[in-house]
Symmetry: C2
Subunit: 347 residues, 2 copies
C-alpha cells in the first residue's frame, strides 16, 4: 500500500504544544505578534467573508462555530461557554480551531484554542486599547480576575504600555491567584476590595466576568470622563455587565455590529443606536478617540476574524519547530475515486 | 504537575482507525447499523436543533459546517466539496466531525469523516429506499461510478435486498473500477455503455455525479413508471442532475426542505412546489409510496442529523476497542480559573 500524501496529514497543535510554543516565543512577544496580526487583518476587513457565529444554546451554556475566510484561507473555531463548568472543575470556555486551503478544502492546521483564545482575546483588547485609549494610559482596572485576567493585563502592558493593574473580583481568592500569577511581570499589581477602589486612577477599565445573566458590574456613577472601557464579559444574549446609562455616555466601538447587537452590551440599546466599527477606525474611514474627556467603549464579543488571525500566527510560528504532530485526518486513496478500494485493501 | 483529567483528552478516530473499525464490524453490518441509527433519529426528528449548513463558497468549491444537537449531544461536521480536486490526485470530498456533551460543551469524540461520510450517505440512501422503493426491488442502476458508488451498491444490497447493480459512468475507467471493487460482493454487476442501458429493468435509479453545474444526467424519457429515484449528486446551488420534467412526474421526498430548496434538485422548481419530509413518512405522519406505478424521488443533499447518527454509531462502536487515540485537545488546569498558571508552570 502506498503511503498517503503529505496533504492527508494535518499539523495538530495540542495543548502541550501550545504551551511549549508560548514559552519558545515568550508570552508577551506572542501577545504582541497576535495583536499586530489582528490589526493587519482588521485593516483588510472587507476581504473577509463574515457571518454571525452559529450558536447552539442550552439552559447551561452555548456551543458556537465561528467561520470566516479571506478567499485564500478558510478558518473556523469551535468554542463553548458554560459558566457552571468551574464548579465541576472544568473550564468555562474550551475551544479548538482549524485553517484550510480554500482552493482544495483540505485542512492545513488543527489546533487547540482554549489557550489560544485567551491569547487572542487579550491581544484583541490590547489592539483596540492601542487605537482607542487615552494617550499615555498607565493604569488599568481589571474587574473579574478569572482565567482571562492575567492575559489581559500582560497584553495591555506589552501593547499599550500600562504600568499598573488594579485587581477586583467578588471572590478574593481569584484576586489572590491573579496577583500571584502577575508577580514578576514588571506590572505594579494592586489587589482591591471593591470595584470602586480598583477603578481609582485607571485610564482603562476592563470588565471580564462570567455570569450568564444581566449583571451590573459597573454602575453609571463609577465611570468618570476620559477613560477607555474594555467590556469583554457581555458576550451572549442575556449576558451584559454595564449599566445602560454608561452606554449612553460613551462612544461605542464594535467588531461586527450584526453579532454585537445580539450578544454585546448594546443588546440593552435600541437596534439603531450609533456604533462605530473598529476596522473603520483602523483604516481611517471613521474617527476613534477625539477628545481627552471622551469615554470610549470597546464592546467586545469576539469575532471569527480574530481567531483566524491567531490561527495564522500559529501556523507560521510552528514552521521549522517540533510543536505539532501530523494527524491522520484525511483519507487519501492513490486514486481519489477509489475510496472503497482503499478501505477494502486496509483489511 | 498534576495530570490533566480524562475529559481533557478527546477520543480521536483517525482514517486508519476508521478502516480498522470497518473491517472489525464488517462493512455491510456497519452500513446496516448506521442506516438503522439514522432511521431511529429521523423518528425523533423534532427533538433536534436544525439549521441549514453554513457554507463558504468559492469559484472552485465549497466548505461547509453542519451542526445539530438533540439537547444531550451536540455534533457537527466539516466537509468540503471540490470537483476539481481529483485532477490533482485529491479527494472531491473530505470531512471530519465531532460530538460533544451539551451539559459541559466538552468534546467527547473527534473523528475522520471522509470515509464515514461515504458510509452515512450510502446508509441514508438505503434507509430512504427501504421506506420508498417499490416492494421487492432487486435491480439498481448506479449512474456515476465515483467514490460513492460501491458504498451505495452494498448498502442497497444489505438494507433493501437488491441483487443486481447496473453501472454507468461517462468515464469507462470509473465503471471498471467499481465493477472490480464489487466483484465478490454477491451482487450481479453489469457494466453498461449508456445510462439508458443501465436503467433497463431497474426499480431503483441512483444518480451520483460530481460536476458543479446544472447537468442532465437523466432526461424525462429515460424514466418510466414504478421506480424510485435516489438523487445524490445535486447537492449545492447550481448543481443538479435531473431534467425538471422528471421532478414534475415524481413525488418528492426530502430531508430538510429549507436546505433542499437551495441545494437539491428542487432548486429547479417553484419554492412552493409540494415536497414531503422523509421523517414524516418514518413516523407515519405522511404517506410514502402509495402505488406501484408511482415515481418516488429522494432528493438527497445530506443533512447534519445523518452525520450525527453516524458519529453516535462510531462513538458506541469504538468502546472497548483500540480504534482511537486520546487527543490532547483541551486545556485542563487544576484550578479552572488558573489557565495562566498552567501555561506558566509548563515553562
Amino acid at each position: 500500500m502506498t503511503q498517503p500524501s503529505e496533504k492527508a496529514f494535518v499539523p495538530f497543535v495540542s495543548v502541550d504544544h501550545m504551551m511549549q510554543l508560548i514559552h519558545h516565543v515568550g508570552l508577551k512577544p506572542m501577545l504582541r505578534g497576535i495583536a499586530d496580526r489582528i490589526e493587519a487583518d482588521f485593516h483588510r476587513w472587507p476581504d473577509f467573508d463574515k457571518t454571525p457565529r452559529v450558536a447552539s444554546h442550552s439552559d447551561v451554556g452555548v456551543i458556537e462555530l465561528m467561520p470566516t475566510s479571506d478567499g485564500d484561507v478558510y478558518g473556523f473555531k469551535y468554542v463553548n461557554g458554560h459558566p457552571g463548568n468551574t464548579k465541576g472543575g472544568l473550564q468555562t470556555v474550551t475551544a479548538f480551531g482549524l485553517l484550510s486551503d480554500v482552493a482544495t478544502g483540505y485542512p492545513v492546521l488543527f489546533s487547540e484554542m482554549t489557550i489560544l483564545t485567551a491569547l487572542r482575546t487579550a491581544a484583541t483588547s490590547a489592539f483596540a486599547a492601542r487605537v482607542l485609549a487615552p494617550a499615555g494610559s498607565k493604569v488599568m482596572a481589571m474587574i473579574g480576575n478569572g482565567a482571562q485576567s492575567e492575559f489581559q493585563s500582560l497584553a495591555m502592558q506589552e501593547v499599550v504600555g500600562i504600568e499598573e493593574v488594579r485587581l477586583y473580583d467578588i471572590d478574593p481568592a481569584a484576586t489572590e491567584k491573579a496577583a500571584r500569577n502577575l508577580a514578576g511581570s514588571g506590572l505594579r499589581v494592586v489587589p482591591c476590595k471593591t470595584a470602586e477602589e480598583a477603578i481609582e486612577g485607571a485610564q482603562i477599565i476592563t470588565t471580564c466576568t462570567a455570569d450568564k445573566q444581566y449583571a451590573t458590574i459597573l454602575t453609571d456613577n463609577m465611570v468618570g470622563a476620559g477613560v477607555h472601557l474594555n467590556a469583554i464579559g457581555g458576550d451572549c444574549p442575556g449576558k451584559t455587565e454595564l449599566a445602560p446609562a454608561i452606554l449612553h455616555r460613551a462612544d461605542i466601538f464594535v467588531e461586527y455590529p450584526e453579532q454585537t447587537r445580539i450578544e454585546g452590551e448594546i443588546q440593552q440599546l435600541d437596534p439603531d443606536h450609533k456604533v462605530t466599527e473598529l476596522w473603520e477606525v483602523v483604516t481611517g474611514a471613521a474617527k476613534g478617540r477625539t477628545s481627552e474627556r471622551q469615554i470610549t467603549l470597546f464592546d467586545s464579543v469576539g469575532f471569527a476574524i480574530e481567531d483566524f488571525s491567531a490561527l495564522c500566527y500559529v501556523r507560521d510560528a510552528i514552521r521549522g519547530t517540533d510543536y505539532f504532530t501530523p494527524l491522520d485526518m484525511l483519507a487519501d486513496p492513490d486514486d481519489p475515486r477509489d475510496l472503497f478500494g482503499m478501505v477494502q485493501r486496509a483489511g
